[in-house]
């Protein structure tokens, strides 16, 4: 068993232990979950450091494992990471461990909660590491089950409605995706993503390539989400428990962006170029519409949720600008959004937990009672609106520069300028939110509200350090991204 498989399946081992050992104390379960997410995290960092960055291994999958899985349909247990997927595996491993800490105060049906949480981590890691389309699809689908339970049991508000909505949206998307995968399989006779990329040019397609492209992208677009398929997101985010919101925003949405780059763009460069204007328009609408609607939110979590719609618009813009720089920007934006919005949701959860209130109209002046939370929350907010020296700035800057200078899509400069308005709107809603929650006159009803405790400090510091690290030295990630994206971008130049 290779390192990558260990990273993917250690959480499952944790699940088995937690499920099978009878009468575990709550504390023990949480410690087990922490241990079985920390080892993958440590291993993921190890992979990150030993990853071969020499120019000879550009576009090469590393840490590959390839075992026969279902010989009848030529399907393999084939995992591996390149420059695009390694940072996402790392991101999920980081979030996986921090989410256990964030969920430390869950007291309802603890055993089941951590079982589902660990399974969720495995399935998302599996999506990022799979190189076999069927395996990819398997992990993609498995993820639905834990999410359904996590939202509908530990959620708030209209949780069972939101959970069902999430399941149905995802299943509709994956239904089309399955048809697309089958079509790809019969076109090329292979399920191996790398092989398909090479074979697709010469193969006789069972249905037009454009049709396969769209069958596949529907699933990814729902997950990212792309306007107008985003309506599940505010509901799921708002009603999910804090820890799950963090994973959902932090890693799960990235499955969509990753899928678009890995499957749609790299297998169908020509189709992607033909249809790029459509997706760029959708991206711009998503950015502006998402930001505009965010401005109107009065619920803390719903506000952050809608801001994700806007931020994922940048990812889509960066991808379909189809230049090397913009694709790197989009990938960096995925990582950055993962830690920034992850932190925002964690802090929103903390405010809700400590103050017992999430309605912006009733919150106010919390900076006095909870100075620590206020500082970290503001930092995350500033990163979210793209302040220099934070990861958000580096990512959005790269997206804009890459898109503006892209020669693939005509008229992209106009679209880029329009989407830059999104940054202004983001400044609006973020600052407004921080002001409503933390500033203004201190309210008496919040006098008993506690600030963050030691455990919470741990993950706050970790998140903030990552945000600043990526903001100040974006090259630690962009170097790696470049290695994965260069071979893809090569085929995108008309």
């Amino acid at each position: 068993m290779g390192l990558l498989s260990l990273i993917i399946f250690l959480p499952v081992l944790g699940v088995i232990l937690i499920a099978l050992i009878p009468r575990l104390a709550e504390k023990t379960i949480k410690w087990l979950a922490a241990v079985f997410t920390f080892i993958p995290l440590a291993l993921a960092f190890y992979l990150f450091f030993v990853f071969d960055r020499s120019s000879g291994s550009i576009g090469v999958m590393q840490f590959q494992e390839n075992l026969s899985w279902i010989p009848a349909i030529n399907s393999f247990y084939h995992v591996g990471v390149d420059g695009i997927s390694l940072p996402l595996v790392l991101l999920m491993a980081i979030l996986g461990f921090l989410v256990v800490l964030i969920s430390w105060k869950v007291h309802l049906r603890v055993k089941e909660y951590f079982i589902w949480l660990l399974l969720l981590e495995t399935s998302i890691l599996g999506v990022f590491a799979s190189l076999d389309l069927l395996l990819f699809f398997l992990f993609w689908e498995i993820e639905i089950v834990p999410m359904y339970f996590l939202i509908s049991i530990w959620g708030t508000g209209r949780r069972s409605y939101s959970a069902m909505k999430y399941v149905i949206f995802t299943l509709v998307g994956s239904a089309f995706m399955l048809a697309g995968i089958l079509a790809l399989y019969f076109t090329t006779g292979s399920l191996n993503m790398l092989e398909i990329t090479q074979k697709i040019g010469a193969a006789a397609a069972v249905i037009p390539l454009t049709a396969i492209f769209f069958l596949l992208i529907i699933g990814f677009a729902i997950k990212l989400p792309v306007f107008p398929l985003h309506t599940w997101l505010p509901d799921a985010h708002t009603d999910a428990p804090t820890g799950v919101s963090v994973v959902l925003a932090g890693a799960l949405l990235k499955m969509g962006g990753y899928g678009i780059i890995r499957v749609c763009v790299s297998i169908f460069p020509d189709v992607a170029r033909t249809w790029a204007p459509l997706f760029i328009v959708l991206a711009v609408i998503g950015i502006i519409y998402g930001a505009a609607i965010t401005l109107r939110q009065t619920d803390l979590k719903r506000l952050i949720a809608y801001s994700s719609v806007s931020h994922m618009g940048y990812v889509l813009l960066g991808i379909f600008a189809l230049s090397q720089v913009s694709l790197v920007g989009a990938s960096l934006q995925m990582f950055s959004h993962g830690i920034v919005t992850g932190l925002l949701f964690a802090m929103a959860g903390l405010v809700m937990h400590n103050a017992g209130e999430r309605d912006l109209r009733k919150l106010g002046g919390l900076a006095k009672q909870t100075p620590l939370i206020a500082v970290v929350f503001s930092l995350a907010g500033l990163a979210s609106l793209g302040l220099p020296l934070t990861s958000g700035f580096a990512a959005e800057f790269l997206v804009f520069v890459g898109a503006f200078s892209s020669k693939v899509v005509a008229g992209i400069q106009v679209y880029t300028l329009i989407s830059a308005i999104g940054v202004v709107l983001a400044a609006g809603y973020i600052l407004w939110m921080i002001q409503r929650v933390f500033f203004g006159p201190a309210l008496e009803k919040f006098n008993a509200v506690k600030d963050a405790d030691k455990l919470e400090m741990v993950y706050m510091v970790a998140f903030v350090a990552l945000i600043l690290l990526v903001g100040i030295f974006p090259s630690i990630l962009t170097n790696i991204y470049n290695m994965g994206i260069e071979p893809i971008a090569k085929f995108l130049i008309p």
Binding site: S68, A72, S160, M164, V167, A175, L182, F186
Partner: protein, 492 residues
């Protein structure tokens, strides 16, 4: 007369008689279950002994002993064993006729085994009736209002279906002059060979043979609960004793598919436009069947009725495989292997679901889905098994249903049935609604009491076997059952 070829069936017949006789002397009735299982075990051992031998045709070409038949014999024996294990609790509440219950299950399994190996229309009909007669009695076993009504309904509708089937067979016989499947195929071929190819072969131009085929589809359609012959399903599933419902939903359906595949593949695959005709009929009916089953299932409150409609929908997915067999270029075996894999995975899944339901409903005394509330807290492992079964029925990983659907749909895409596959996957999404409802009630709602649901050891063994099977087929399908090995098993 080589009786060794018939050993699996003979063993079952002897065991059935033995069980009825022993019933007269034995006080401890659970021995009867043990004897039945032993008989089934010996029977499958005989079947295994014949595995991978040269395909033989026995008894004046009336029965075939090929891997296809043996595969189904093992499947039916397995299903019967699991059903008996799951019934022991249930049956011990009967005052009388416990021996007859087991004997009837054995006899219907015998009928199913014969169905899988028959290659002749008359034998086919006799074995079908053997299955039917045993099942009528089993459905009415509770002798209360609902059970009796279900039995009568099943009897009447099934009799009509048998008549239609017989009429179809008569037409086929009339046009070909043969009842043996291979002879029928040769007869159709010979009209082609006799130089009528250009001047329009009479048999194919005349609607008679085609009407015969359609009527046979209708007659078999009743057995597999294909729309529009599905009306009996919900009432019979609801009224019958739950273990019998489980048996009906897997055994009887699998036998139906076994015989359809053999008859249509052996007799009506050449010339290819004949295959295209019935293939397309199955494709269209499949779309209708799965849609009707899924949409009506959403409204059900009774879990047995819901699973009844769900089994109609699953028949629809299975028919995608039949359509593929028909539409594939003649005499390639595409579509067969996925169909067989789906049948095994469906049997494991549905049995797991029903076994969990048998345990739960015998505690709550109600078949309503709402009365499953809080099972996740009362008996987490039972609820987990039922949840896994529901996930498998939706067709989501890591359960067997996912791989089964993947196989069957991928074969269909290969033969220009992408439209049907898209309908089928959308149907799978619809089905998530009602399957997840059961899951939701079990895990989200508060339990009515804190008591654990009692379950006998036999039932637990059966449930564990099915659940592990579902997981194994879902995660390591190549290891569990290599579909490549399933192709080309039809010897005749």
């Amino acid at each position: 007369m080589n009786f060794s070829l018939l050993m699996p069936e003979l063993t079952l017949a002897i065991t059935a008689v033995l069980v009825i006789l022993l019933d007269l002397f034995i006080k401890q009735k659970s021995w009867l279950a043990a004897v039945s299982i032993l008989g089934l075990g010996i029977s499958s051992a005989f079947a295994l002994g014949l595995w991978n031998g040269t395909p033989q045709s026995a008894f004046n070409n009336m029965l075939a002993v090929d891997n296809y038949a043996i595969f189904f014999k093992l499947l039916f024996a397995g299903i019967a064993i699991l059903v008996i294990l799951a019934s022991t609790d249930y049956v011990s509440k009967f005052q009388r006729f416990q021996g007859e219950y087991y004997a009837l299950i054995l006899l219907s399994a015998l009928g199913m085994m014969l169905m899988a190996s028959t290659t002749e229309l008359i034998t086919l009909f006799i074995s079908l009736e053997l299955v039917n007669l045993s099942l009528y009695a089993l459905v009415g076993f509770l002798k209360d209002g609902k059970s009796a009504e279900a039995s009568l309904k099943y009897l009447l509708l099934s009799a009509v279906a048998s008549a239609v089937l017989l009429f179809g067979m008569a037409l086929v016989f009339g046009f070909t002059g043969q009842t043996q499947l291979g002879e029928i195929a040769r007869s159709i071929q010979s009209t082609l060979a006799a130089g009528q190819v250009n001047s329009a072969p009479a048999v194919l131009v005349s609607p008679g043979l085609f009407v015969g085929i359609v009527l046979m589809i209708a007659g078999f359609g009743f057995k597999i609960a294909m729309v529009p012959f599905q009306m009996w399903v919900p009432d019979v599933y609801e009224g019958a004793p739950t273990p019998v419902t489980a048996y009906l939903s897997v055994g009887s359906k699998a036998a139906g598919f076994a015989i359809i595949l053999r008859v249509f593949y052996s007799a009506f695959i050449q010339p290819s436009n004949l295959g295209l005709d019935w293939g397309m009929i199955f494709a269209v009916l499949s779309a209708v069947t799965m849609t009707v089953g899924n949409i009506i299932a959403i409204q059900q409150d009774n879990i047995k009725r819901m699973l009844g409609y769900s089994s109609i929908a699953q028949a629809g997915y299975l028919m995608v495989g039949l359509a593929t067999v028909g539409l594939a270029p003649a005499l390639t075996s595409a579509g067969q292997a996925p169909l067989l894999f789906f049948l095994v995975s469906y049997s494991l899944t549905n049995l797991a679901a029903f076994i969990a339901i048998i345990a739960i409903t015998s505690e709550t005394g109600s078949d309503l889905i709402d009365d499953f509330k809080g099972m996740g807290k009362r008996s987490p492992w039972l609820a987990a098994a039922l949840t896994l079964a529901m996930i498998s029925l939706i067709g989501m990983p890591p359960a067997a249903g996912f791989i089964a659907k993947f196989y069957i749909f991928s074969a269909a895409v290969q033969h220009d049935l992408l439209w049907l596959v898209i309908i089928a996957v959308i149907n799978s999404v619809i089905s998530a609604f009602y399957y997840l409802r059961v899951v939701k009630v079990m895990w989200m709602n508060e339990p009515a009491s804190a008591e654990k649901v009692p379950a006998s050891a036999a039932l637990i063994v059966a449930l564990i076997f099915c659940s592990l099977g579902v997981l194994l087929f879902g995660l390591l399908p190549g290891l569990a059952m290599n579909p490549a090995g399933l192709a080309n098993m039809l010897g005749f």
